[in-house]
Point group: C2
Chain length 392, copies 2
């Protein structure tokens, strides 16, 4: 059983939204209104729950998060918006909360309206099963194509705790920010630390930029990506943004790695580390282009140290570097030195490393200070199977 964090109760039930009868409705409630921050998808196409959650989280406090899987409630127009408003209102009523303190999140198929009646009908059950020990039920109820639930813990200096719960396996290429939010990645972070709203948001943005925004399964951003952080203050341990960002990044990194590992049909995770550029931004652009290259990802599936694809992807990223100075290593095996192949024997050794579940690919493109990393997964037959048939 996964431990909770003081000040929060969790539940997760089967409300009949998913056709297969699995858990599909999750709720977390703070004992007292919690300090809240959220960042959301930057896709122009945004689901109703994203629009509503973004508005409500601006108040800086929240008491509950209602999450459903099975439908993203995206591209569902007025009916979808009404369903989000009605279901959060039902939760607010049952718990005697202000409706603005109930944040919604949805994940699943786009274009399907959230069946509000099913949520409202099961609100009693959802609320009555709330428990400090309900983390696992919550984590299970938010899954869609995920193969396993994703939770992570870290301790904060002074004795407070942070817990993260996430879902995400496909349509994973998050781009979340404060300016405008986006989500098939859902991440919920709970801490019992005492912290102000601005500090919480500052830590959240930093942690997300260093982790979720450097992750790609398929290069497609979702209409529903949501990251919400709530601080209950129940530990009575006051922390600054600086003190929180470390543990929060640790939790987010663990969740991000779990999402890539669970990448639809993925069997290998590579951490692409790009360095030697003029700026971190340049390095990020190259790391992203390599990490989202379909040819690189199929080579990963084939356990083929096909550095030509890596270098060609880097070359089309729109950032200047000298290909004749490029060095590429898989794990600790250098396969390209100063733009040239080290040799077939090195490539074979690199291929053996690529048989592993997870490995690094270092791409050094000069001696500048700019560096970045990106997590990516392989693209093989299982990915095709999951995504060609997901709706049917």
């Amino acid at each position: 059983m996964t431990a909770g964090v003081s000040g929060f109760r969790f539940s997760g039930i089967a409300a009949g939204i998913k056709r297969n009868g699995r858990r599909d409705l999750a709720l977390v409630v703070a004992e007292k209104p919690a300090v809240a921050a959220g960042i959301f998808t930057r896709d122009l196409v945004r689901a109703a729950p994203v629009v509503v959650a973004e508005q409500r989280v601006r108040f800086g406090t929240a008491s509950a998060v209602l999450v459903n899987s099975g439908t993203a409630n995206a591209c569902t127009g007025e009916a979808g918006m009404q369903a989000t408003l009605d279901t959060t209102a039902a939760i607010a009523k049952a718990l005697e909360l202000r409706v603005e303190h109930v944040l919604p999140a949805s994940t699943g198929v786009i274009g399907l309206v959230l069946p509000a009646d099913k949520v409202i009908r099961t609100t009693g059950e959802l609320v009555s099963s709330l428990s400090p020990d309900g983390v696992d039920a919550f984590a299970e109820a938010i899954l869609t194509t995920d193969r396993f639930p994703k939770v992570a813990h870290a301790e904060i200096e002074g004795g407070a705790t942070i817990l993260g719960i996430a879902k995400g396996a496909g349509m994973i290429h998050p781009d979340v920010g404060v300016a405008a939010p986006h989500a098939t990645m859902l991440v919920f972070l709970f801490t019992d630390a005492v912290i102000g709203r601005d500090a919480l948001e500052e830590a959240l943005v930093q942690a997300a930029d260093a982790t979720f925004n450097c992750v790609s399964v398929d290069g497609d951003t979702s209409t529903n990506d949501t990251v919400i952080a709530l601080a209950s203050g129940a530990s009575e341990v006051s922390v600054t943004a600086e003190a929180l960002v470390g543990p929060m990044t640790q939790v987010c990194d663990e969740l991000a790695r779990a999402m890539v590992k669970d990448g639809e049909g993925a069997s290998h995770v590579a951490e692409i580390r790009v360095s030697g550029l003029t700026t971190d931004g340049d390095a990020h652009q190259i790391a992203k282009t390599v990490a989202t290259s379909v040819l690189v990802k199929t080579a990963m599936f084939g356990q083929d140290a096909n550095w030509g694809r890596i270098l060609a992807a880097a070359g089309r990223a729109g950032v200047h570097f000298d290909p004749a100075r490029a060095c590429i290593s898989v794990g600790n095996v250098e396969i390209v030195h100063d733009g040239l192949s080290v040799g077939a024997e090195a490539e074979q050794r690199a291929g053996k490393i690529m048989a592993g579940e997870s490995y690094t690919i270092d791409v050094v493109l000069g001696d500048g200070p700019g560096k970045a990393r990106y997590l990516t997964s392989d693209l093989g037959h299982a990915y095709v199977d999951v995504n060609a048939g997901y709706r049917s």
Copy 2:
């Protein structure tokens, strides 16, 4: 037998570069120095033959193009450059041409040096088999993972002719331009019209922008993309750029469609047509993002009218539009109207259209004049098979 075009002789032989013994060396020679124009990959990483061909084509005339398949001769440093210089010198010597008039092109695996000795050893055979009727041998010798050769013809007003020969099936997302060229797409255009160098280049740039630069199989641009046009003048029919651009675009469009149809492992081709934006550039950006979306391409494989993926991809293209006004049709079946699903029955009918070999997807995002189109192929198991094992 494919007809040639007056003023040119073609050949294609097996020089032993490919391991499987197939034709891998091609030559075309103009009877007199031809007017020449070329555009090349804009990837920063560029093969030796691209660097050399780009330099030489600037003279505005050329007499021969030497093409090999089996190795891209990219990322091969000084040894690769020397091989390109030596092999074109051998052809120049055998045909008594200036070496600057021999343009090289290569396609195949990155990182493998062109085996100059094999080319030099077979130069006699290559030259002696030149024939006005050698188009098919030439077209075959430039193929790599292609399932079929690609040739197209068009008539030019006044009685001249244009012939196009292309190869390309994977690593197809060309971005070719005059400023800086990029190539696993190789295209050679031959006309017997009389035309100046600048006019030929103008027609070439326009035709390529409207065709090859709107095509994607896997979103990966190559280190070797090359498009070369030669005009022999043998018809004695003078044409302007305006007169040439129509037939040239027709030939390029036919070749581009053949490349997408032959996309590695592809069984469906979709023409993504985006309209209603402020500018053509905005529309192009959205069309490109949709056409390269891995989720859209796997939905094509699954024959699933999954418009949510189309709309979400459009939304992350970085271009503003109002999702609530989006209309999407597959063939003549509208599946999204004003941002909302038309219904399950329409999606089923659209799914039937997607069972076909080729179809259109119209994405209307407003009432602006900006429009663009992009050709793309599905991504299924066969694509994974081809690309996970290509080098082995």
